[in-house]
Symmetry: D2
Subunit: 142 residues, 4 copies
């Protein structure tokens, strides 16, 4: 089994519709970027989140936070680094670094919980868990 | 059967997250407002759109347009007038007037098509059609 | 001077454009709601945020977080309680409770910093500080 | 003077936050994509829209419309073709084709008007007009 990829970088250009009256990227949009980072991190591990949902496996956000250090502006090209910090069969914790030309603009972190179609917590299917962690889920789930 | 309600007004206060770097309501948000107007017009006729979707009946937008006359700003209270201009069992045409203190800011129109869960066109269920038009769908559907 | 109002409730109906493919209010939209709560809390103290910006006084978000307990759905009517927990001349901390029919859906908190047109921190003008706290800023600012 | 570029293609991956409860790209987001297309078309002609705004020249949307042929879904990679159909010193008309794997999903068109900081119509500065059209504005403006 290949070693799981725990960190990925993506570039995002700030859209005009995403800035506010100050000309700054609106703070709520950062969380949309973080979601894009999670999608790409999954993809680099060979998993498409759309396929998870089609199979009835959903990740919902249980907690998310961001600290804003400096503003981003329209048309800026930003680099988002998304890292899976801790993975269990039922939840995953990510961290996020958003920067422009090497300058840190914002840092965030989130906890996601795996749920089924009815919204109730489930364990991530074992093959996926193994891909993301490099180890089997073991006999007992957290 | 009560006479269907063909026009309704709602008030919308422009949110900070909806304006752009000019301080103007971003043009794409107008279409979100129009959607709110359609929801309220249905509600005034005793129909909740969420119940339609739960029953497998969806309205999708086939065409939408807007002409912008004057800008709206953050915190403005706007009046949106939504009118059902023409209703058939398979489609509905709406018009929209958005104003502030009696001054017209934008005018729009849309065509919606009724589809099922698989995205294929269906006829609006006859009881709903009767509520919205005040007449039965008749023996042949358009 | 009237006693400042530290908490306010607003009702928000979830828009169709705000839910995701699960039919849940997307987590990034909660922060847009929180911003609406802050605007209304200011308004109840007789201050329009738009007037602050016109006077060159801006609040920027330095940190924001939310814990999500249960999903909100399209067309739900939610109650948002926004409270100013701590106010200094240069920053303000808010807390947020979002509920539906008395059931808590999400809790959040934020720290905002007061900046000028150039984005550099400034102290909230003293008359505003007095309105929001009921006391003068005193001889030394934090 | 180089020949102006009248058409450009960009690729856009649909974000999770952009789809609705049907799993379809929400119709209001198409207009955000169109705006991205206009920004890139300007960039290919050597003009950054952010520099225009910094110089006090703004394009505002006077009219926009879209016909929706087939839905786009989360994670789809779409191709947007943006074309400048007609340019005068005070307005520009664009057309848009959005497709996936060669299949047309939506077609749109818009009219933008050039305004100054006060929101009143102005003529596009002549050097920019020449870049975009390949010809001088001539002695009389429309």
């Amino acid at each position: 089994m290949p070693e799981p990829i725990r960190t990925c970088n993506i570039e995002i250009r700030v859209r005009y519709a995403e800035v506010d009256a100050m000309g700054y990227l609106h703070h709520a949009r950062y969380f949309v970027y973080f979601e894009m980072g999670r999608t790409e991190l999954l993809r680099q591990n060979g998993i498409r989140y759309r396929d998870l949902e089609a199979a009835g496996v959903y990740y919902v956000v249980a907690r998310i936070a961001c600290r804003f250090k400096a503003p981003a502006h329209y048309d800026d090209v930003l680099t988002l680094t998304t890292s899976a910090e801790r993975i269990t069969p039922v939840r995953v914790e990510h961290s996020y670094h958003l920067s422009r030309d090497g300058r840190l603009l914002a840092e965030g972190e989130s906890t996601l919980v795996c749920v089924g179609r009815n919204g109730r917590p489930i364990a991530l299917p074992e093959p996926l868990y193994e891909i993301l962690t490099g180890v089997g889920a073991g006999p007992t789930l957290e």
